[in-house]
């Protein structure tokens, strides 16, 4: 025990370096190549999906609770974020169908007034993200009281139903003064507001892809810390054997509730980031199909692997948004049309790729391993390292 203590092992070190490198490369690329490249869409959306996938993995992969409510908690987070940060000056034009919003409070106005343009933006966005998480976690707590008594498939159905109900409620006309009914919310700060501009409004330094990576990275780091803590071990014990966990003094109800609320908190933050990515919030985007996308990412990445979820979300988003785009366009080579290429063909190829991945990687790309494990194979006998 003493000989491995307090030494950062090679695997973690290499992983940290890789993450730092990705951050740096993102910033450099963003400021050198065409900013409209799809690469940056992939990075932004991939970062958001990583966070949501990791939050789902915390619940499904580490605590063994099969929940499908992720899109619902994202929706709560996205609306909370948007409602809290839309500047009062544009609020009435956004809510014009409902003769203005009943909500005249904007974190953005308050902090930009008090702390100045840039610093106020940062504080307001971070606070709004945390509020988004708290609202999602609060609803998770309420819904968790009855629902967490259910097991496996039944829990999945109940949480899926909850997400669908939320989506319907947020589109309800009667709540229009708060949620803007079925219409989109917009005008709140998005990722592109983090680009540094000079006095004449020209962008001098782009950070719009770095910011989502950073925010998602911080949240994922917190989840990793949680999973490697005493509570994370208790979650894994519940996953492996509930009866034994309870017999060893782990309070099932409390720990399940805790895991559910924390997962929903980060899904809520993920929803806020999604709102920033999409620059409009509309309840109809948070469908159950979105939950399935995230579930797919978790399964492909490896249930019980944080790095697997991150890797899979970037690959998934890159495939669906970027690399396979050309399959949707009819193409002519030397005057003859290339067969099969037409609108919708992308999804066929995409589904086949997923089937192949699942066939060859039964446990997902990473299984239950983490990125540092890949670099530490030789040292495995020497002693267990902690992170």
């Amino acid at each position: 025990m003493s000989n491995t203590k307090k030494r950062i092992d090679r695997g973690s070190l290499i992983t940290l370096c890789i993450i730092l490198l990705i951050f740096v490369v993102t910033v450099v690329l963003e400021n050198t190549i065409n900013a409209n490249s799809l690469l940056f869409t992939v990075i932004r959306k991939g970062a958001v999906y990583s966070l949501v996938a990791v939050s789902m993995n915390l619940l499904n992969g580490f605590t063994g609770l099969f929940s499908l409510g992720q899109a619902g908690f994202m929706l709560l987070g996205a609306y909370t974020y948007a409602i809290l940060t839309i500047p009062n000056s544009v609020r009435d034009t956004i809510y014009y169908l409902f003769q203005g919003s009943s909500f005249h409070f904007s974190l953005l106005d308050i902090f930009q007034g008090a702390l100045g343009e840039t610093f106020g933006l940062i504080v307001a966005v971070i606070l709004a993200c945390i509020c988004a998480g708290i609202v999602a976690a609060f609803f998770a707590f309420l819904i968790g009281l009855p629902v967490l008594r259910l097991k496996s498939d039944y829990l999945a159905i109940a949480t899926l139903g909850f997400a669908e109900i939320l989506r319907a409620i947020f589109q309800w006309e009667k709540l229009g003064k708060v949620t803007n009914g079925a219409n989109a919310l917009r005008g709140y700060p998005t990722f592109s507001d983090f680009n540094i501009k000079n006095s004449s409004g020209m962008i001098v330094f782009r950070l719009s892809s770095f910011v989502p990576l950073l925010l998602a990275g911080i949240c994922i780091a917190i989840i990793v810390l949680l999973i490697n803590s005493s509570y994370g071990r208790a979650f894994k014990a519940i996953r492996d054997d509930e009866v034994a966990a309870e017999a060893m003094g782990i309070n099932l109800a409390k720990h399940k509730q805790l895991s559910f609320c924390i997962s929903s908190f980060f899904a809520g933050v993920g929803g806020a980031l999604f709102a920033m990515f999409a620059s409009t919030v509309q309840a109809k985007t948070f469908t159950s199909a979105m939950t399935y996308e995230i579930l797919l990412i978790v399964v492909i990445g490896g249930i019980g692997s944080i790095s697997g979820s991150c890797l899979a979300s970037f690959l998934y988003i890159a495939c669906s948004e970027w690399w396979l785009r050309f399959l949707d366009n009819t193409m002519y080579i030397g005057g003859t049309q290339v067969p099969l290429l037409r609108n919708g063909f992308r999804m066929v190829v995409f589904s086949v790729i997923i089937m192949i991945v699942v066939l060859f990687f039964r446990q997902g790309i990473m299984g239950s391993r983490e990125l540092p494990d890949l670099f530490r194979r030789k040292r495995i006998k020497e002693g267990k390292s902690d992170e």
């Binding site: 025990m1 917190i222 810390l225 949680l226 803590s229 005493s230 509570y231 071990r233 208790a234 894994k236 014990a237 996953r239 492996d240 054997d241 009866v243 034994a244 966990a245 309870e246 017999a247 060893m248 003094g249 782990i250 309070n251 099932l252 109800a253 805790l258 924390i262 019980g304 239950s368 495995i380 006998k381 002693g383 267990k384």
Partner: protein
Amino acid sequence: MSNNVLHVENITMQFGGVVAVNNLSLDIPEGKIVALIGPNGAGKTTAFNCITGVYEPTNGLVEFMDKPIVRNHPSGKMKKIYKGENADKYLGDVVAMTPDKITSLGISRTFQNIRLWNSMTVFENVLIAKHMRANQNVFSATFRGNAKEEKRMREETMALLVEQGLDKYKDEIATSLPYGLQRRLEIARALACDPKLLLLDEPAAGMNPQETEELAAFIKEIRDKYNLTIFLIEHHMNLVMDISDHIYVIDFGKMIADGTPSEVQNNPVVIDAYLGVTE
């Protein structure tokens, strides 16, 4: 007033129309090794599950250190179909502690079919049992404000593994250990909960005679070392007769005899129901 660690009174467990445990009463004095024996399906494990809170018995009372941990009477639909006795004796407050609460009071157990956390190492298996008594909350644990507590848990776990001779396997996946060691690890994990009373459900199942002999010595050793009271279910008669101070025999959920090992061995009812006639 009593020196009984565990006091079980008129426990009846009825599943639908089936009475698995029928009006079972027993006392376990402090520092003793007490065995519960009986044929397969007699309701031994069900009795264990009633004591540890896995099941809520239909009727009866269980006290641990003179404090009720389980107390119930037939209610609702069960009132009509209840076949046991003493239906009116435990009316009033229902006490139904969850297994984790009962464990935190000081009853710890092992399982008949080993239940280790199979994706985790030997070290983690024992470490998790320390979670219950750790002084921390989810924030201090996540942001490492509990470093001292975490260090203490790790050191205690290591010390326990060394005492149990499992330290050289600490980084092995628990279920990759040989069967006998898995049993031992399960006992080590139960000890990590700092129990006063240890319930062992067939600790010698699947062991050869030599291993069984070692186990007998081991059980006595941990009893003395950790000041435990031990209550076990076992089928190996040699082991039971060797280490028990007192034996309870049940058949079809009902107590048919109890006494010291020699008393039980010569009891005609027990011989008839369980031990069989020796020629």
